[in-house]
Point group: C2
Chain length 202, copies 2
């Protein structure tokens, strides 16, 4: 009786279940999957993947086939029928969220307290990151993703589209951001000026 599985939220467990619906895989391969196609909207580390697989195994939602060739341990997981049922049930019941935690945008909000150099560096760094991810996405198109369901292609195209939009916006508007931030700099305390004295009590 594989109990506890009425999760409304798509945690790492459910994600693993879902990825395994594309075909069997090891924990390591699952990680690569997260990094390749899913990285722009769902990250997961080994520290969450391996325990998830173990829990799923314990619940009978995945089956594990161990092979140890010459001391090299390898555990290939695949979805069980119970696992597919559970996955379908979760998908049918879920009310998925969509949240972004962008420290980058957060920092930008406080650009008026930053040096123009740092601000520039930040922006260029983010642009580079975006380019990197976009390039990686481009690679995926021909590669292994061919036999994945259309939905995954949809999600990837979505990522490409929105990241391109983000990139374009930043590129086109960074100029005025930087000059505006410079203009709005309040009288700089930490430069070598009459020091404002109060660092307060010890």
């Amino acid at each position: 009786m594989p109990a506890r599985n009425q999760s409304k939220s798509l945690d790492v467990r459910t994600m693993c279940l879902g990825i395994l619906s594309f075909g069997e895989a090891t924990g390591y391969e699952l990680k690569r999957h997260f990094e390749n196609g899913f990285h722009h909207f769902y990250a997961a580390s080994f520290g969450s993947i391996y325990p998830a697989l173990e829990a799923l195994s314990a619940d009978g939602l995945v089956a594990c086939q161990e092979t140890a060739e010459g001391g090299k341990l390898r555990k290939v997981y695949r979805l069980t029928p119970a696992g597919e049922s559970a996955l379908r049930a979760t998908l049918a019941a879920c009310e998925p969220t969509h949240r972004m935690r962008s420290e980058f945008l957060a920092v930008l909000c406080f650009a008026h307290l930053m040096s123009p150099e740092k601000l520039s560096a930040l922006i260029d760094g983010r642009l580079a990151e975006l380019d990197d991810t976009l390039a990686r996405h481009h690679d995926l198109r021909d590669d292994a993703h061919a036999q994945l369901p259309a939905s995954v292609r949809f999600v990837n195209e979505f990522g490409r589209h929105t990241m391109q939009a983000a990139r374009d916006f930043i590129e086109q508007n960074k100029g005025w951001l930087i000059s505006a931030a410079e203009r709005e700099q309040p009288p700089d305390d930490n430069a070598s000026r009459a020091p404002r004295a109060r660092r307060g009590a010890a």
Copy 2:
């Protein structure tokens, strides 16, 4: 000695510090701020805001002015010079991340295991959410945001731009996604049919 404040990451504490750099506020107002301008890239709940303010207060980075008019407690916080220094230091040192956790996109990846109705509902729900946030953003333009720094306007415009791009993509491509998902539905096990045979070796 206001110690422990070499955080490289922009946690809620630093965010509160940053928002207070726009002007004094209560915890409740801070929450509204998160909800209004920041919601699309940084969420924070009371359960993290209030403790953050207390910690900042203990470290001397913010000052608190309590007013209790007729049993109605109100704590107005404002940045201290030490707080501004700390904020500047954190901003100068940080390497901001940008991560998205979209259960929505995750679920879409497994569209082949969902009913077309659920899929449609999901997509329409997300579109409605986007419209809602976009409308809210539009309101902000004239309203209170006038005196906020240009950087905040940049971030808001960024949000508007990218969310619009997301919305457009979904609107334009949901058609083929839904039909493709329907086509790719594997023979449905949980209906009363002959079980799927090809589980391969077992």
